[in-house]
Symmetry: C2
Subunit: 173 residues, 2 copies
Amino acid sequence: MPFTMSQTSLPVFETGLHALLAVLDKAAAHIAAKKIDPPVLVGWRLAPDMFALGRQVQVACDQAKNGSARLAGVEPPKFDDTEATLDQFRERITKTVAYLKTLDTKAIDSSSEREITFPLGPSKGQMKGADYLNHFVLPNFYFHLTAAYIAVRNFGVEVGKRDFLGAIPLKRI
Amino acid sequence: MPFTMSQTSLPVFETGLHALLAVLDKAAAHIAAKKIDPPVLVGWRLAPDMFALGRQVQVACDQAKNGSARLAGVEPPKFDDTEATLDQFRERITKTVAYLKTLDTKAIDSSSEREITFPLGPSKGQMKGADYLNHFVLPNFYFHLTAAYIAVRNFGVEVGKRDFLGAIPLKRI
């Protein structure tokens, strides 16, 4: 079986986002048990100039959605950043995973040499498809996924590496 | 050009580890300027039950070294975890990058269907090569790389996303 770009993107994002959903579930149980006001959780930051937890969730979702769409050669839909409650952030994840399932895997697989142009701050960035996936989309996705996970752990929720990895195709022998 | 497993591992690890080296340089300058005792930096933790910064660096290096070696079908060398100073942690990174350069890219490229067996806590894990890279090595590598970066940022060092991404093949247009 060849190694493909769709295999290195879609199921990776889906697994990571589902894991994040489960981490947020544990966080919800934690604040309910401790009677913590929910906005305190979604507003939690690891440094004053870092995004709050809720924003980390939005950006992790967008890296997966926008990165995959651009590799598939289609314009990614814009999801408005209006989420405020934990349930809404959960819904953002579910909506993102549902969108990933609509993308054409063959179009993603054939994009390794295609020049991908994408918004980058006030200007634009351009990279070949394979480089865009390996050196931009994946590191950015994992950055925000990890930041969200660490924010939850730093908040005091009992989560471990297995929660971060999620349902990976691993056989324990 | 086909999409290959060596391309999705070796240069990805090298770029990420070099970026981490530069982040540690900024951290060294920060503690020198603020006259902070160096062990305070390498011992910094984002949560009481998370690894300290120095250990995050060691584990990020080991994910890259062990993951790549196993995909190439060779036994990874064991690097003793004896580092204590920032210079020694820097050396661990350099040594890891040098080791990555010795690996056979063709052996890595042909490993997508090969069953990889690896130590996992008290037992062992087994995954097909492509799954091992996509769902174990890359997420674990990025987890510890991001944790190290966030620990430095949380410590008060001025670093941003560009420092995390490092020297990626990006054209700004």
